[in-house]
Symmetry: C2
Subunit: 400 residues, 2 copies
């Protein structure tokens, strides 16, 4: 197997050779049949067939074990699928949380090999984060018995927009002390690997597209509803990044110019109304103890009217904001992530009703196929970290 060749193929996102195109599509989608590869890449089936043979010979791809047991479908040869050779390399995903750092190691066939979690004091510095990540990667590689040289890249999910032009963190993010930090310059020397960074919601959207609730959707909007409110937009299978990396910042739509000051410097941002922060303050007053979003959701499921109302109010505010997003994008699908998604229909039903009230195209205006659908994320909490792996795999990288 030729890891160097694979690295080159993966690294050159603009490769127009058949092998470059095939490796890219396999890294993005996981296991695929030759016919499907031809369909996606636009390459002739004969070209795909010849190139797959070459890639198989050099050990870059392998027949997908999971597909072997599948019965032949349709006419002709069975629809066997191939994947990138799991041994051909690993990708690291990192989530930089407020009080924790999460690391996931996955192989290029999309299988997660290891996961590490480290609790850290808030307001940690980039240098401290780099040390922690380095140690977690080393620990995971040791446990897996693999060399760190197999790492094709490290994807990082950040609670801030990352400028795709210079790889620096924007002021608009939630981590003020990191404003202006050049992610690549800061982390590559310490980690000794190529680093790709994107904001958390963009990573989550990639995870939903590759492994989650948006599989098969080329156009959707991802929304984080939690203590913070964020989002990401996917159009024709590509993230909409924005000129400075700040597309999808739904939490900072200013919906009331006379409202309270937001941490971003604007007034009346959606986050001030749709975040669950204020709701938790009320819940703590009511119950006289520290409360998490999960606590409130649990009590709401148990029938507590106050907790149900906190979820309802938050859903109505969020629906109003998403109604605006709907008038801008008219998406076919909203994938709702973040802690509030775990309330399921208790949250989703009033959210949809509020959306329908405030957006331009009402549910009754169009047939079912043209209606905007709402689903919750497939991930409990590691969507963004898994998505950071996807950032490496997909070359949706901001620093590439």
């Amino acid at each position: 197997m030729d890891t160097a060749e694979l690295k080159t193929l993966l690294t050159n996102a603009h490769a127009t050779t058949p092998s470059g195109k095939i490796v890219r599509v396999l890294s993005q989608r996981g296991a695929l049949s030759g016919a499907r590869i031809a369909g996606i890449t636009g390459l002739a089936k004969s070209t795909v067939s010849t190139t797959l043979a070459e890639l198989r010979k050099s050990g870059i791809i392998v027949d997908d074990a999971a597909s072997k047991s599948e019965a032949p479908t349709g006419v002709g040869r069975p629809g066997n699928t191939v994947t990138l050779n799991p041994l051909a390399g690993t990708c690291v995903g990192v989530l930089l949380g407020v009080q924790h750092i999460q690391v996931v190691i996955a192989d290029v066939s999309h299988a997660v090999l290891a996961e590490k979690l480290f609790y850290i004091d808030p307001d940690y510095s980039p240098a401290r984060a780099a040390e922690v990540i380095k140690a977690l990667i080393a620990e995971a590689c040791d446990e897996l018995g693999i060399s760190q040289r197999t790492i094709l890249g490290v994807g990082m999910a950040l609670a801030a927009p990352v400028n795709p032009l210079d790889g620096r963190i924007l002021r608009a993010g939630g981590i003020p002390t990191w404003t202006g930090v050049d992610i690549r310059a800061e982390f590559e020397p310490v980690l000794g690997a190529r680093v790709f960074a994107d904001n958390e919601s963009n990573c989550s959207a990639i995870a939903e597209m590759m492994w989650g609730a948006a599989i098969g959707h080329e156009d959707f909007v991802f929304v984080t509803l939690d203590i913070g409110v964020g989002g990401a937009i996917v159009h024709r299978g590509h993230l909409v990044t924005g000129i400075a990396g700040a597309a999808g910042e739904f939490g900072h739509m200013s919906i009331n110019p006379d409202g309270a000051l937001c941490r971003c410097g604007n007034r009346g941002c959606l986050e001030l109304y749709a975040s669950f922060r204020q709701a938790l303050v009320f819940a703590e007053q009511r119950f006289g103890r520290p409360m998490t979003t999960e606590d409130v959701i649990g009590l709401a499921f148990d029938g507590d009217e106050g907790c149900k109302r906190l979820l309802l109010d938050c859903a109505e505010a969020a629906g109003r904001g998403l109604g605006i997003v709907g008038s801008v994008l008219n998406p076919g699908l909203f994938v709702i992530g973040g802690a509030l998604a775990r309330a399921g229909d208790l949250f989703l039903t009033p959210l949809e009703a509020s959306y329908n009230k405030h957006t331009l195209v009402k549910r009754t205006d169009v047939g079912n196929a043209s209606q905007t659908k709402f689903v919750t994320s497939k991930f409990a909490d590691n969507g963004a970290c898994l998505g950071a792996v996807g950032v490496v795999l997909q070359h949706h990288a901001r620093l590439a």
Copy 2:
């Protein structure tokens, strides 16, 4: 020349043959060199060269006259450009205005051959529109001495979203009596040609991309600021249509849920604040005579403080709305069209200031290359009609 073959190549938007790809890219971009075609399509230069020779032989493409006088650049052969053969076919663009119908005829090399304008009573029916368009096309073809059989398609720009799934006009549009009309079923039998329809702002965005202020931009937002407020979003060279065709309806972002009722059924839509309708009412009161937007702009240029204030108020409201669009999309470029664009900096300067106040990423947050730019449309009034020609050429068609 083989018009039938060209029609087939143009019609099959998903053709993956080299000739299909080359015809498509020429129809979208106008004149191109072989090297540029190879760059855009990803085809090998030798394939491009062979295919161009075949297409030249069958008369589908011709060497671009304008490029012949250019001096050779770089090494090797001169960078001669080719276009689709102007004789290979014509495209019709139609704008259905409130009180006028405009028809443009262009050839496939992007040259406008004829333009017709017809004033019509408001609230005209689709059947009446079809008759008028048919007569205008016949008249123009007669004058040009060309057969109507050369027409490859008719693009129609409508003041309403068109559902890409079923080709029907949405309720959300400004022409209530047309709600639910199936454009293709209504117009194709009368016009005897393939019909493509899209909303006005989407057509304008296509015109800006192909001939106007957004040439060379793959990502931008077009905004109409006039009596109505609308827009369109282009990502990676493709229109963002939305699941029901209603993306880019910035005028119907509900920015004040307790505001006045809008014609769309929501409250406090941006259009209620940023449209120039109310400003004209004030201007008519002030001057005691019927006033157009152009009149107010003219008086503002002459120094009338009241008229300057009407433009300023409108710019501030529009900037607030676009600030929200900025937090959603963080676009690199806004192209401002509609009558208010004609006020130039008198309108654009306060618009930008208001945008910067209300959006997430401030001008001072990022370097010049990452800043959102504002420019005015390149078209006086036929942007949308020209864009409807572009709809046919680009296969951005909603009914395809």
